[in-house]
């Protein structure tokens, strides 16, 4: 904790001058965050941050690697592919709603829709596709939505996240909103996301090892052993909020989408590794 504070103070001293003129841009935030985590974990290659706790603990990493021959989400991804390729009642498929037929596009989400003036996540886009084609929307935390999203993510494995925050007030506001959420303390236990994942990654919280914020969204949808199945990023947001006794918000609510927008932007340049497994 103290080391983190020292690093933060040192960072703000060295970077204070250029930022006096204007508020930090998303790109400046991201660069500062990368520097911060590099200093905190000098032995971890930047590309490894997407593996969260497995980049920080050898024992856990070896257990995780032994699972990779037959990851537990394999069946769900196969189901997801089947659902993705099966036409709707009207004959169209998901391919018709996405660029490049929906293959290899995970790294571009979330994106800011300049017409609707809101953040569009991949799961939201999947349901929008369903509704436009006369199908009922799926629930957002688990089940079919997670399988389809996992399949789509698997077609992007290895591609680098390329989230854009266009230079307009609404997009910047959405990004800032997500950033504010990330750093605000909440719940009766009064924790912010940053309290664990920026100030204390690499430490144990009961039997869990805290992962750093950098690269966190990269491995979603994720198969958590705890869930025994795939779950989406918003499912995890809700769970984490409940853990600190904060009322979870609705999956795909504006706040969670803005949070995902901010978090994923921070991971620009890092690879899509979803779906993946975690404890």
């Amino acid at each position: 904790m103290l080391k983190a504070k020292i690093i933060l103070v040192a960072m703000s001293v060295t970077l204070a001058t250029p930022q006096v003129l204007a508020g930090a841009t998303p790109e400046e935030d991201r660069k500062e965050a990368v520097e911060y985590f590099k200093q905190m974990f000098p032995d971890v290659p930047l590309t490894e941050f997407v593996n969260g706790q497995y980049a920080l603990n050898e024992d856990r990493r070896s257990q995780w690697q032994s699972l990779q021959d037959f990851p537990p989400y394999e069946f769900a991804v196969a189901d997801g592919q089947e659902m993705f390729e099966t036409p709707f009642a009207n004959g169209k498929t998901y391919a018709s709603c996405f660029e490049n037929d929906g293959i290899g596009i995970r790294q571009n989400y979330p994106r800011f829709d300049e017409n609707k003036k809101e953040v569009i996540t991949l799961e939201l886009a999947i349901n929008q596709c369903r509704e436009v084609n006369g199908e009922k929307p799926l629930k957002y935390k688990k089940g079919d939505i997670a399988s389809i999203s996992a399949y789509m993510a698997s077609t992007s494995k290895g591609k680098q996240f390329d989230i854009k925050v266009p230079d307009n007030p609404e997009a910047l506001a959405a990004y800032e909103d997500g950033k504010e959420f990330y750093y605000s303390r909440r719940g009766q236990l009064n924790f912010s996301c940053a309290g664990c994942h920026v100030q204390n990654p690499g430490k144990w919280i009961r039997a869990d090892l805290l992962s750093p914020a950098l690269g966190q969204p990269s491995n979603f949808p994720v198969h958590r052993s705890k869930w025994g199945e795939l779950g989406t990023l918003h499912r995890r947001f809700a769970g984490c909020n409940a853990n600190v006794r904060a009322e979870p918000l609705a999956a795909q609510s504006e706040e969670y989408r803005n949070l995902e927008y901010f978090l994923t932007y921070m991971s620009n340049g890092l690879s899509v590794v979803g779906p993946s497994t975690r404890p």
């Binding site: 032994s66 699972l67 021959d69 037959f70 537990p72 394999e74 069946f75 025994g228 199945e229």
Partner: protein, 103 residues
């Protein structure tokens, strides 16, 4: 229908390492669904691996094993190119079986 068993077996230095993922709900019979009704017990009871007609591995599973079990084991006495048979039978009398060649 696709097999419920995905398996990979590799031999090295006389020891064959086998990994398998088995698709099965492994319902314990103690869990209720959202309507409050018990989900009936449906789990693999025995899983066996045979080599040249001889059983090299027997697993007595049951309700304590969770969904889609992952299995890893090692045994001696087989060589590259040999065929293995992995089969299971569950409490409903359903079964599945697959063959794998040792790489």
């Amino acid at each position: 229908m696709a097999s419920s068993i995905r398996v990979r077996a590799v031999e090295s230095g006389g020891v064959t390492s086998l990994k398998a993922l088995v698709r099965h709900p492994m319902d314990s019979g103690f869990v209720k669904d959202s309507a409050g009704n018990i989900v009936p017990a449906h789990f693999i009871q025995v899983l066996t691996i045979s080599h040249n007609g001889k059983q090299v591995f027997i697993a007595d599973w049951g309700p304590a094993v969770s969904k889609d079990p992952f299995l890893e084991c090692r045994f001696e006495g087989a060589k590259k190119g040999d065929k293995l048979t992995i089969s299971w039978i569950d409490n409903k009398g359903e079964s599945d079986s697959t063959e794998a060649t040792i790489a």
